[in-house]
């Protein structure tokens, strides 16, 4: 029933509800994507925008595109973004230094002007048009079959060209991301000789973390014979992330019973 109304291009109250619920969310999330400083937050907000667009596709009798939107865009493309963010470092925040003076203000002014232009043009030309709906085009075949028939008849050459494009893109990404090794790989023997020659570094394995009655977590440092904290007993990245209790606190805590 509802699907029939939607396919006919009519505007049901369901659709209006979906639109007025999701459109503000999409706009706010898109704005947040531009304004938020962390790139990972931007990616998550963009995911929200894309998912609400998928809902709009469903409401507009395009279920196939809605599924492709979720699977390809939100599933594959955005995850690729997140992978690259992890590769080049999450903490690469934007620099706030303006290389061109006044560029930011100018960009915002131009953006507002462009929005006004688009909205005015739309308001001038559209007015009230009557959507024909996809009933005639889809008939009783269903959306996916109708799209497939069109794709493999009228658009078959574009479709074949797409396969060439995808193969080229895959090869291009491999060539771009590939790195030749300039220097020969250092063997374990060489690294060991270097360690012994320079001295200073530990010859034996590093000490393990401390094990006490109240703490045996990996971020608990071991104690040296003189009671001081062995900093090498805790993995370096735990110090960076701040997950490890502060060295001073640990020392005080351990000194109390003595």
């Amino acid at each position: 029933m509802t699907a029939a109304i939607l396919a006919a291009g009519g505007t049901s109250t369901h659709e209006a509800t979906v639109f007025w619920l999701l459109a503000p969310i999409a706009v706010v999330c898109a704005l947040g994507m531009v304004l938020v400083r962390s790139a990972v937050h931007s990616a998550v907000l963009l995911a929200v925008v894309m998912l609400s667009l998928a809902a709009f596709y469903t409401a507009q009798a395009a279920p196939f595109l809605a599924v492709v939107q979720v699977v390809v865009y939100t599933g594959a493309v955005l995850m690729l973004f997140l992978f690259v963010l992890m590769l080049i470092g999450v903490d690469t925040t934007d620099s706030l230094v303006e290389t061109l003076r006044g560029q930011r203000v100018a960009a915002i002014v131009v953006g507002l002007g462009f929005a006004a232009l688009l909205v005015l043009a739309l308001a001038g030309t559209l007015g009230s048009f009557h959507p024909k709906g996809l009933n005639a085009a889809v008939a009783d075949k269903g959306n996916v079959v109708a799209i497939a028939e069109l794709l493999f008849s009228r658009y078959v050459f574009a479709f074949e060209a797409t396969s060439a494009l995808l193969i080229t893109a895959g090869l291009g990404a491999m060539v771009l991301a590939h790195r030749e090794r300039v220097t020969p790989r250092r063997t374990q023997l060489e690294r060991m000789r270097e360690r012994v020659a320079t001295g200073g570094a530990a010859m034996a394995p590093l000490p393990g973390p401390g094990v006490y009655a109240d703490h045996d977590a990996i971020d608990t440092p071991a104690l040296l014979p003189d009671g001081s904290v062995a900093t090498t007993s805790v993995p370096e990245y735990l110090e960076i992330s701040g997950a490890r209790p502060r060295t001073d606190d640990t020392e005080r805590e351990l000194e109390a019973p003595r």
């Binding site: 505007t11 709009f56 595109l65 493309v77 915002i108 024909k132 771009l176 991301a177």
Partner: protein
Amino acid sequence: MSPDYYLYLSAILFTIGATGVLVRRNAIVVFMCVELMLNAVNLTLVTFARVNGNLDGQIIAFFVMVVAAAEVVVGLAIIMSIFRSRRSASVDDANLLKY
């Protein structure tokens, strides 16, 4: 509610994306803004497919998605190779060809 509202929405989303491309410095975020613009255009295409009563708009939106996927793959590979050589993902730092 008439389908014009979808067009207004996609105009707003497109503008936000375009402004983001101009404002942001991080190359990956700039790329995400480009994706937002492509998505906004897709919404327009789907709306017009419904208004005109044929499926060509949906097919073109489908092709736009495929091209966007290919573009993202190559673009992110370029960003990675720039990051490897210059240790930065900021679009301001890639200025070797500047006069």
